[in-house]
């Protein structure tokens, strides 16, 4: 019975996502597109934090690497396919993850978290100072009017919000499925066991360093993909995309939704985008309110909104 319940929920959510552009206006469509992109970003973060127990404070670095890679390709090579640009963004994120991982993954727990902040800032500083390539503080802007060719369906304007929404939705759904399958592989199981007890996993003969390195690359890849998609939506890039505050945003989203399963990050980014939109519409102190909510969640329900829902469902079934 429960199995059918979750399947029907998935079906309903999918139907809602597909019909969303026909229900709401342009503004909410934009927000929804943003939410979908942030969901991928959050899920790539969940693989580190929720699945393996590695808390990184520099996750925006991979997001930003993907974003910069895509926009540079699109600006300098006008005829390149956007799919190649998106995948290239992901691959740069992967490389960034592997290189940073090589240096950091021998560190344990808190020490690791500390180092990620600094390496995230290092990549930010490079993006900020390498003016000739990245445009420095001003960033880069993508010219409009690009056409995209989809086999069997024909040409589309990249500016078209409907087309963009569906494009991003399809790529994101594929990414989510990939990430979900990844957690079911033997490597995924190994990583989950690292979270429960790293020492024992090592005693079993697993090379946990290599496993974590592969995870870092995988997570960096999807963070890079989400950065690339974000560029298609925003059409511009600036160092703000990879500074520590962007890394903090993904942490806030994960805590809002909860990071104990795949649903949490998605719900978290949904709440975050709408909450920021709502709060900033009537007060400019919205970051303060967000911070207070954040602290309250950590203190009173560390599993986030998904945790609250889960415990209330369990309570109800216990009655």
């Amino acid at each position: 019975m429960r199995r059918y319940l979750s399947e029907s929920v998935v079906f309903l959510v999918l139907a809602a996502l597909v019909s969303y552009p026909y229900i709401v206006g342009k503004f909410h469509l934009y927000l929804m597109t943003e939410i979908i992109i942030f969901s991928i970003f959050c899920i790539s973060f969940y693989l580190l934090l929720g699945h393996t127990g590695l808390l990184s404070f520099g996750h925006a670095a991979y997001f930003g690497l993907g974003a910069y890679c895509t926009i540079l390709l699109l600006v300098h090579f006008p005829h390149i396919s956007i799919f190649i640009a998106i995948v290239a963004g992901g691959i740069l994120g992967l490389l960034g993850g592997v290189i940073i991982g090589l240096m950091l993954l021998r560190l344990t727990r808190v020490y690791f978290s500390l180092a990620t902040v600094a390496f995230g800032q290092m990549i930010w500083a490079i993006a900020w100072k390498w003016r000739s390539l990245t445009g420095g503080d001003d960033g880069l802007v993508l010219k409009s009017g690009r056409k995209v060719f989809i086999p069997l369906l024909g040409h589309f304007e990249l500016n078209n919000p409907f087309f963009l929404y569906y494009l991003i939705l399809v790529i994101s759904l594929a990414s989510v499925i990939f990430c979900w399958l990844f957690t079911k592989t033997p490597l995924g199981n190994t990583l989950a066991s690292i979270k429960s007890n790293a020492n024992r996993t090592q005693f079993l003969g697993v090379n946990i360093y290599l496993a974590k390195l592969m995870l870092f690359g995988f997570s960096g890849f999807f963070a890079g993909i989400s950065g690339s998609l974000y560029i298609l939506l925003e059409r511009m890039v600036s160092p703000g995309l990879l500074d520590m505050f962007m890394s903090f945003d993904v942490i806030i989203m994960s805590v809002l939704g909860g990071y104990s399963n795949f649903v949490g990050p998605v719900i978290g980014s949904f709440i975050y985008v709408y909450l920021v939109e709502y709060l900033s519409s009537f007060t400019d102190k919205w970051q303060l309110i967000l911070g207070a909510i954040f602290i309250a969640l950590i203190l009173f329900c560390p599993n986030g909104l998904v945790g609250i829902l889960k415990s209330s469902i369990i309570k109800r079934s216990m009655r």
Binding site: G53, M103, R106, T108, L114, A118, F119, K285, L288, F294
Partner: protein, 291 residues
Amino acid sequence: METQLTIIFGLILHGLIYGMLIFLVASGFTLAFGMMDILNFAHASVYMIGAFLCYQIIQWTSNYWIALLVAPVLCGLIGIFMERIFIRKVHAAGHVNELLLTFGIAMVITEVVKWVYGTAPLPISVPPILRGSIPIFRDVTFPVYRAFILVLSCTVLFLMVLILKKTKLGISIRACVQDNEMANALGTNVSLVFMTVMGLGSWLAGVAGVIVGPYLTVNPDMYAQMILDCFVVVAVGGLGSLGGALVASLLVGQIQSFGIIFLPRISLILIYLLMALVFVFKPTGLFGEKE
């Protein structure tokens, strides 16, 4: 030739002062880190609060010395408050929650400061006694306020070493840094010692905040700069190692000071490169032993 010498002298001096300031903040940070494995994101917030309290107290009383006495004490109380009310609550829930909590506290403090004082840099004038400069030779001079910072921070450093090496409290702190479970088993009240460390560490950060006011500017961005420097210092110096933190602070101070003049394009990256090198060749930090 002579102007070059003057400039280099000034840079070394600036690096030294900045290094000492970082050390004042990082010492409490690294002790808390070594004792309870807490990476306290909010520690640099206390430093920022110190600077703003200094500004506020000078606004009310127009006396720098009152600010120098009162603000750090208030900062110490804030540190104790933070430990009692927040950190203690989630300590049992594990590292991730603790980290996230201190991060949230830092976020809220920064926002409150921005709300009350705005984001523009606030000026604090140097107290009259400490104005002017001491001539050293020909046109090389030494501003009195910088000398004051050096003397004050060295005094604080000396007092700290004295406390750590000679008093019972210091012995307890060092025991807890080495192995807090064993210290607890041998009858040390670890949670009390930790609260004291948080208080003292916050007091030190407050002192740094007050003396930085007239030297640099007071603005909400000082938090991010200081927390990053602290991270680098703790990583380079080694977990919970005070001597390591001192060496690393002075090193970071000099790198910041010289980097901005000689390698302006990559000055921001230099300290992270130093950190990367340390991680590659000695992951426990220069003076760290505990993993």
